[in-house]
Symmetry: C3
Amino acid sequence: MNKSGFSILLFSGDYDKCLAAMILANGARDLQMQADVFCAFWGLLLLRDPEKLSMEDKDLYEKMFTAATPAGAENLPLSKMNMAGAGKQMLLNMMASKEAPNLVEFLNGAFHNGVRFHACELSMKIMGFKSEELLPGVEVRNVHEYLQQARQAEIQLFI
Amino acid sequence: MNKSGFSILLFSGDYDKCLAAMILANGARDLQMQADVFCAFWGLLLLRDPEKLSMEDKDLYEKMFTAATPAGAENLPLSKMNMAGAGKQMLLNMMASKEAPNLVEFLNGAFHNGVRFHACELSMKIMGFKSEELLPGVEVRNVHEYLQQARQAEIQLFI
Amino acid sequence: MNKSGFSILLFSGDYDKCLAAMILANGARDLQMQADVFCAFWGLLLLRDPEKLSMEDKDLYEKMFTAATPAGAENLPLSKMNMAGAGKQMLLNMMASKEAPNLVEFLNGAFHNGVRFHACELSMKIMGFKSEELLPGVEVRNVHEYLQQARQAEIQLFI
């Protein structure tokens, strides 16, 4: 069996952890490794298209959930020291002063560099997300597909 | 060396992360992979039997800890948006409306499907948990046993 | 390819998660496995030398960040039940009563046992940490170096 990939199960919807995931996935592509990011639960929030959120055909809880969660990647909170956004703004300022890209730029770079994004089918169903609400190019996959892909990879991380 | 297993080190005691761990472990069993879940620190809270919590032979801190932590799997909080339980209730409602099993059902399924559960010996000692307080079928293991088993697995995740 | 290592990407700066990382890395060394701990983002807080924090040549945000973050390993908060330090103190008391080492003792043991520590170059740059502020023996590495090392390991965890 030829193992040559890098696999992330992105469960977290934190700005800093998503940033780490994107830096790793882009780094793997630089090394010509196949890179797969399987987004589940809060990790799906990275893949929502802020322009395409919809309340159509959603039940009450799904509507509440759509409204209560960050609309897109740049709106995600930090995993710690978020301090109602003040800590996050500080991190963003520190990143900008070093001319580091922000999360959406890293995410766009990842799509452009051939990182493959997958959305967890069961999480989509539970949270009431529709595939039309996600960024273009994302494939919906189930847990068996994740496991089959991850076991071929050289590195598997849960973030 | 024949690698064919799936290994989780479950450190988190969050409802949503434990749910993810159980869905993954059950999925691995569907694919005929051996699946091992090694519970450490907060992850031990998944394995406590709510009927068997005991204050006997515990020192003051151990009693406080027993009393201050969730008594069983269904009492675990969400890793985010828990909002004093309101966010968790919303998730439970969303799961129920899709007829998704709850955590205890996934956990029972995992035992039934042959997922092997291990409790970290050092964590048990520090937190003052006794093996009689855990669900039946859980084996107490040390860190060397975890590492020896994990290095045989195809996929290792820290959750 | 000869795989015989244990690799941790330590992203978290939580006391309990750092403790788990050190116990695992020391355990891997006991088994004669090479053990590498690559510290990124909040994980860098484990490697700061409390005696060597400096405000020199730092911009305003870097100074604020230096001041707002825990000065060394023993000052890190718990990932949950920290309760403004009360929960952490309870854990420390429980550990001490079992004569378990604290985090700094595990960390020193890890250096002594030959665990190799790496600091993420990009995280250092963004947070404004200088290599002189870190514990002696820590090497600064980039994401490509992490990936190249991790793909040689038998076990890779993101903590």
